[in-house]
């Protein structure tokens, strides 16, 4: 990932910033400029919201692929969590061994290194899940 691309979403990734539609109250992560359900009534009115960092495992997998940017992590746990604020968020789960992961397990979000060094030579940080007990 190139530097502009990385920094652009840094805030959203670092503080887990999503958006909320003032019309219907739906929360979105990743952030959206427009609510798909209220559309015209939401344009220019979407509000930034910080997503509460706790949730539960909704589904999980252990990825064994040789993808260039993630080889150094291989194998790694990847999950979708249902956050307490209602949205789903996908990301890596760390600090736990695969056999201890269960659907429904409480997790929270933490800021971590995502990859060693990518094609542009930068070390990238973002959110990862950790067990929350």
């Amino acid at each position: 990932m190139t530097i502009p691309r990385y920094w652009r979403e840094f805030q959203h990734r670092y503080r887990l910033i999503g958006t909320k539609c003032p019309k219907c109250g739906r929360i979105y992560f990743p952030p959206r400029e427009v609510c798909p359900y209220c559309h015209r009534e939401s344009i220019g009115k979407m509000q930034k919201v910080e997503i509460k960092n706790t949730g539960k495992v909704y589904s999980y997998t252990v990825i064994h692929q040789d993808v260039p940017d993630f080889k150094f992590l291989k194998p790694y746990l990847f999950i979708i969590a249902e956050m307490d604020s209602g949205v789903k968020v996908s990301g890596q789960l760390v600090d736990v061994s695969p056999e201890d992961v269960r659907i429904g397990m409480p997790v929270r979000i933490s800021f971590r290194r995502i990859r060693e060094e990518d094609r542009a030579g930068i070390i990238e940080y973002g959110y990862k899940f950790i067990p929350d007990e």
Partner: protein, 389 residues
């Protein structure tokens, strides 16, 4: 709206074509289709080219011009556009071609899809194949296409109590059919244990749950009623339904991981257009980019109850001699998955079946087929209904 017919088909073998370039593959399939249609190149009025990844694999864009030029068609000055919708690029190109003929704009068009993956390393292939998921919010965090589909598989087992063995039934079926398809990437038969015990890709999915990265091309010639009357094909095959739908791009954005809303919508619309319903369909090509995707599609279109597709396959449904034949081509799993060609190749297989030319894998009384081509984890879906008329 006018009726649209398929008057020509052509495809390369799917697989690893180290010795052939992207352009060579699409030209090979294209010339076969033109010959099959028994028309002159001057009769072709437009080209719709399906391709996903040439920009990332060989740094080549402007693929429409490439196809037109090397198929020897650019001297005719016809429009040649590339359509890209990830793994559903081929189906989308067919839909675009269909719209252009159905609406009376053209009488004869060429729809050709191609993908060339063995020009890059296996590692790069895994990343390129994941080009259709959200790069900022899925792949950035390590969410590959296979990983995301594995999340669907795990949730499927959790919600429905489906067994791992049931999920493995689709690759087994696809390989059984594919073993009789001379154009298939893989022609070996496999067993449920083989699937489960193969190298893990993204738990619970193994190498044998996943469609391979294939090189290959597939081409159709579409024509209007008027044109078909001139050509007088032996078997008249009509595209009686064509529809395309969309859904949220990333899996996390969807309320229910196991609901493929685009698939349901495009299939309902295509069946409605063809004034038919799923019960009348004899042959289904499902988009088994992974076993779980293939199964979820079969359930979403109403062929099997939710969570039960694998069980039904265990009971023999889906076999070419059963009430509904699934993936007679071998599916994406065994026939292969050259993304830009995949959705077009599904229709090539359907035409072969409807023409009664599928030899050992021929379905009896094949008169209606349904092909479903999907992007990513379900962000786009194109459904086509084909009938002998």
């Amino acid at each position: 709206m006018r009726d649209v017919y398929i008057i020509g088909i052509g495809q390369t073998k799917y697989g690893e074509h180290w010795e052939k370039s992207l352009r060579a593959l699409v030209v090979e399939a294209g010339l076969k289709a033109i010959e099959d249609a028994n028309i002159y190149s001057k009769e072709i009025q437009a080209i719709f080219g399906g391709n996903m990844s040439a920009g990332s694999t060989i740094y080549q864009d402007n693929i429409g011009s490439l196809i037109s030029d090397f198929s020897g068609l650019s001297v005719n000055r016809i429009p040649a556009m590339r359509i890209e919708n990830g793994s559903a690029s081929g189906g989308a190109a067919v839909h675009a071609g269909f719209v252009s003929v159905a609406s009376g704009f053209y009488d004869t068009v060429l729809v050709g899809g191609v993908e060339k993956l063995t020009d890059v390393s296996m590692e790069d292939q895994a990343e390129i194949v994941s080009g259709e998921v959200d790069q900022e919010w899925e792949l950035f965090n390590g969410g590959t296409l296979a990983g995301l589909q594995a999340l669907m598989a795990r949730r499927y087992m959790h919600e429905y109590g489906a067994k791992r063995e049931e999920i493995a039934m689709l690759p087994v079926l696809s390989h059984e059919h594919g073993s009789e398809n001379p154009y298939a990437h893989f022609r070996n038969r496999i067993k449920v244990e083989d699937v489960i015990n193969a190298t893990m890709v993204a738990d619970p999915l193994t190498m044998l749950d996943m469609a391979p990265a294939s090189d290959g091309a597939a081409v159709l010639i579409l024509a209007s009623e008027e044109k078909v009357r001139q050509i007088k094909p032996e078997v008249k095959i009509k595209i009686s339904g064509s529809a395309m739908s969309s859904d949220f791009m990333s899996l996390q954005s969807r309320e229910n991981l196991l609901e493929l809303k685009a698939v349901r919508d495009s299939t309902e619309k295509a069946l409605k257009m063809s004034k038919s319903d799923i019960k009348r369909v004899k042959i289904v090509e499902t988009h088994d980019s992974s076993s779980i995707m293939g199964l979820l599609i079969l359930e979403e279109i109403g062929l099997f109850p939710k969570g039960k597709a694998g069980k039904y396959l265990e009971e023999g449904y889906g076999h070419k001699d059963s009430r509904v034949a699934i993936n007679t081509s071998g599916g994406l799993k065994a026939k292969g998955h050259p993304m830009g060609a995949t959705g077009i190749g599904q229709i090539v297989e359907s035409v072969i079946q409807l023409r009664g030319k599928a030899e050992k894998r021929q379905v009896h009384n094949a008169d209606m087929a349904l092909a479903i081509n999907v992007a990513g984890t379900g962000s786009a879906s194109i459904s086509h209904v084909l009938e002998v008329v």
